[in-house]
Structures are given as structure tokens and as C-alpha cells.
Symmetry: C2
């Protein structure tokens, strides 16, 4: 290692390469085919490094999800709850409709459905995304645009849920119209008090 390279820098570069390779292989072949030796080869790092640091495919997926949460897009701040929720729905839609990202999300959901540790990591990823966007709702409550007691996290989950349902259950095309409908439905329900404690 060059004396010009900080150890943290090299470690971070190895992690970037390994997680990028893991994402590529997950998007290409799914969870069941994920193999640590192949990840190491694709990343151009030693097998021993991958086995020692991540241990199992589940360990890799958990770290991929941590990186996905860290790197994901910050929330909108338009000042309008309708525009914020629409921006959220369109971001989720464009992510899931993208070929590589859509396959990657299917693969991590499959991992979560098959493995308890991957499920914990997956739930952590969605908790982080919901935490990022929930302030849109709380600020709208503060501006008097939504009823007091509205559960911000449930509103954000309600925006995404129909888009995941289209991806994984119904197979309905992930159009921008579907995203706008999901955002509009979540907003109308929130305005009517459907997410407020009774």
C-alpha cells in the first residue's frame, strides 16, 4: 500500500468495489445465484477479503442495503405536500422501473423473504427511506395542510406501497400516471384523516 493512501481510503475503495459488484450480480442473476468468489472476481479484490469481511451472501446484501440507504436521494422540499408526495412517488417509480434498479430491488426483497438477517437489513433500509421523507408530512401538519395526529410514516409508506404492489404482485406497468395516482390517493386519504389516530 502506498504511504499516500490512507488505510480508511483503501478499505472504503474495496467496499465500494465489492458492493458495486454485488449489486451488479444481484441485478443480473438474483439472490439465489449470489456467490462470494464471483463477487470478489468481479470486484477485482481477493476472495479472502470478501469472505473475511462479509462472510455470506446475506452479509453482502445487508451491507448493500446500508450503502443504498446512505447514498439514496434526499427528500423534496417544495413547500407543498402535494408536490412533495408526487416527487416521492415519481422517485420510487423511476427507481423500480429502471431495469438494473428494478432487478436489484426484486433481488433484495427476495433475500428478505428468504433470510431473517436480510429481512432485518431490508426493514432498516425502508425505515431509513421513510424517516427521510416523513418530515414532509410533519411540516404539512405544522402548516395546517393535514390533520393533527396524522401518522407521517404511514402516509409515506402508502405512497410507495401501490408501486411495489405493481412490481411484485399485480405486474401492472409502472407508469408515471400510476405514481401520481399513488401520491394523490395517499394525500386525499391523509387530508380526510385516514392516517390520524382516532
Amino acid at each position: 500500500m502506498s504511504s499516500l493512501t490512507r488505510p480508511g481510503g483503501r478499505t472504503a475503495r474495496v467496499r465500494d468495489a465489492v458492493l458495486r459488484a454485488t449489486g451488479d450480480l444481484l441485478a443480473e442473476s438474483g439472490f439465489a445465484a449470489l456467490d462470494l468468489a464471483e463477487v470478489a472476481r468481479h470486484a477485482g479484490v481477493g476472495r479472502t477479503t470478501v469472505y473475511r469481511r462479509w462472510g455470506t451472501p446475506t452479509g453482502l446484501i445487508a451491507d448493500v442495503l446500508v450503502a443504498m440507504a446512505d447514498e439514496s436521494v434526499p427528500r423534496a422540499r417544495t413547500g407543498s405536500i402535494a408536490d412533495d408526495l408526487r416527487a416521492n412517488a415519481r422517485l420510487v417509480r423511476s427507481t423500480l422501473a429502471d431495469v438494473r434498479q428494478g432487478r436489484l430491488f426484486k433481488a433484495v426483497v427476495v433475500a428478505g423473504a428468504c433470510d431473517d438477517r436480510a429481512a432485518d437489513a431490508l426493514h432498516g433500509f425502508y425505515a431509513a427511506r421513510i424517516d427521510e421523507w416523513a418530515p414532509c408530512v410533519d411540516e404539512a401538519i405544522g402548516r395546517g395542510q393535514l390533520p393533527d395526529g396524522t401518522d407521517a410514516r404511514q402516509v409515506i409508506a402508502a405512497v410507495s406501497a401501490p408501486l411495489y404492489y405493481a412490481l411484485l404482485q399485480s405486474g401492472q406497468p409502472l407508469t408515471e400516471a400510476l405514481a401520481d395516482q399513488a401520491a394523490g390517493a395517499a394525500l386525499a386519504a391523509a387530508q380526510a384523516g385516514a392516517f390520524a389516530a382516532r
Copy 2:
């Protein structure tokens, strides 16, 4: 074969046994572990029969989904759209919260995410379930309880989506309160015209 047994009767009994065994094994070990020889052994039928009739794990899953659609519970007919949607949400919730059924649904969603033919069968299953319940919405439109032009299928999908999101993405507990909230949110959004063509 006894002369007292109709061939159709025997065929139907073999199918029942094989699909029951497939469902049990899917719920127990998931899609990746599904093995035709093990299905045959659990069903008490010859391997050759299973290989000849279903061919692959995906073929078995496709037929399991046809049977699940055929056997699934008919829709509510309460005369009130609020009560109908709540009954639908509670049915979905109790199904997904049931240990065996929850695992079976995870396994078929995993199969659909991993295999195109299984995906077609999965979309067919959800189309059948949505077709079964959509008349609740159409009847409510007829009674003047919901706006003209409301997309009945999207309303039904919106009732289920947050429950699948809890099962597969967020890991939120599948409580009856969550089901009632999903039904109430879909209804409020429909009443506000969020599912009506513009």
C-alpha cells in the same frame, strides 16, 4: 384403478395431493428448495406422474396459483362500500399474518420475482382476486357512494398494497388496525376522486 373410480376423479385427487404437498413444502422451505421428487414423496404419488404433468418447480407453482385463485374466498356483499373494503383488508391481513399462508405467499412472490413464467401465474392470481372484489366498488358507484369513473381495480389494489408492503418491505406488524387503516385510506381516496379518470 378400481372400476368404481372415475379417471377424472383420480386425476383430481392426484392434483389435490400434489398441490397440497407443494404448498406445504413452499411454506416450509421456500421456492429455491422446491424439488419435484420431494413433492411426489410428500404427496404419495409417483415421481413420473409429477415430472410428466408439472415438469418443473415453476410449473408446480403456476398450478398452485391457479388452485389458490379457484379456491379463494368470495367477496363480501354487505351493501356498504366501507364494510366491503374493510372485509377485504381483514381477509388479506389474516391470510398474510397466518404462519403457513404468509410463508406460502412470500414463496410465490419470490417465485414471481425470480422466474417469468411464475410471474405470469402470479399476476393471473392477483388479477382473479381483484376481479372478484372490484364489483364492490362498481356497485358503490351505482349507488352514488363513489364518484363516476372511479377505477374499481385500483381501489381494490390500494386496499391490499399497504399490507403486502408491511409483509415484504417495511416489516411492520400485520395488525387488524393496519388492515382497517388500509381500507379506510383507500375509501377516503376513492371518495375524493383520487381513482377517477380526469
